[in-house]
Amino acid sequence: MRYIEPHAHMVSRTTDDYERMALAGCAAVCEPAFWASFDRSSPAGFFDYFSQLTEHEPKRAAKFGLKHFCWLCINSKEAEDVKLAEEVIALIPQFIGRKNVLGIGEIGLNKNSRNELRVLEMQVEVAAKYNQLILVHTPHLEDKLKGTRLILDVLKNDQRISPERVIIDHVEEHTVEMVLDCGMWAGMTLYPETKCTPARAIDILETYGSERIWMNSACDWGVSDPLAVPKTALEMKKRGHLAKAIENIIFSNPKKFLRQSLNFKL
């Protein structure tokens, strides 16, 4: 089976993971900018990170025949310091023209604070100005419902943003419907402990359909599984989903969304 991993933080993973993903049928991996599990002390740290995402990580992926794409932003966990965020956001335009950049992401909210919201709006402005796709991180656990509502309000109120060019990630049963109702794409993250299990992700597909939905592993430095997408495909097979329907979810759907960026070429 072939699949696209539309959300993986490969800078946190080993080379062995690239090999395992390639063996499992991965055709491309897409890496949003995110929190490194510690706060970076200066914009220079982000300059280096954006260089890593646009120059070095594609080379590491290419050794295993994998295409590597990325998204740029300052994440919501480092957004409480608005001055730092402004300086980091000012760095982004010089990287947007690089050939593996898909858009702005993963922007969003974490604890749903005013400063996080302000930084989200600043980055939506960059996406609008440079006509970029948007990938949104929704908050964790008890903060997800409120954060998803606040994020959708920001995006719906900006007439420059086309909903079909936005993916709202980490949806669960209580947020997926409101995202799809807005005309945006929904991402289901497959985690062993939080977010969706493979069984629940398939429940959501069977309940809400498979249009404008993708699945991702969001593998990073925490408890996560870089093979979560192919494992969920196997679970779909066990549940009797046809091969065409499985390929639709793990390959055709992410391709359909991502090719809205001229840089996404397989």
């Binding site: 929190w35 966990k77 409480e80 974490n110 604890k111 749903n112 604070s113 005013r114 400063n115 996080e116 919201l117 908050p139 964790h140 656990l141 008890e142 903060d143 997800k144 419902l145 409120k146 509502r149 606040l150 669960e172 049963e173 209580h174 069984a199 629940r200 429940d203 597909l205 069977e206 359909g209 498979s210 249009e211 779909m236 066990k238 549940r239 009797g240 989903h241 046809l242 065409k244 329907a245 639709n248």
Partner: protein, 107 residues
């Protein structure tokens, strides 16, 4: 129009176009669900045996358990809603970065 409907249906085809039967679902998931239910029961027993005061997390956990009762539908969604912050205004400042899984003012 018919073609569009067929395409939409095709996108969610499973079991040759039919939903799995209750028997098939039980065969696939019953033991796993039974295991998780016993883990929950043991967790509640463990928390009850422990010393000291409980906090809002256990309260929200019990409120969520009530959503499993009877013939109610959308149980997963309702459990998640029980654990969620229902307020709508942004907070003044993020005190930290983490989430704990339950809403501190669960009624």
């Amino acid at each position: 129009m018919l073609a569009l409907q067929l395409l939409a249906e095709e996108s969610v085809l499973y079991c040759g176009g039919k939903r799995m039967t209750k028997q098939q679902i039980l065969d696939l998931y019953f033991l796993d669900a039974r295991h998780k239910l016993i883990e929950i029961a043991a967790f509640l027993d463990r928390a009850e045996r422990a010393t000291g005061k409980e906090d809002f997390r256990l309260k929200s956990f019990r409120a969520a358990l009530a959503k499993l009762d009877g013939k109610k539908k959308n149980r997963a969604k309702n459990v998640l809603l029980t654990f969620s912050d229902p307020t709508t205004k942004p907070i003044a400042k993020a005190a930290g970065k983490g989430a704990v899984g339950g809403y501190s003012k669960t009624k």
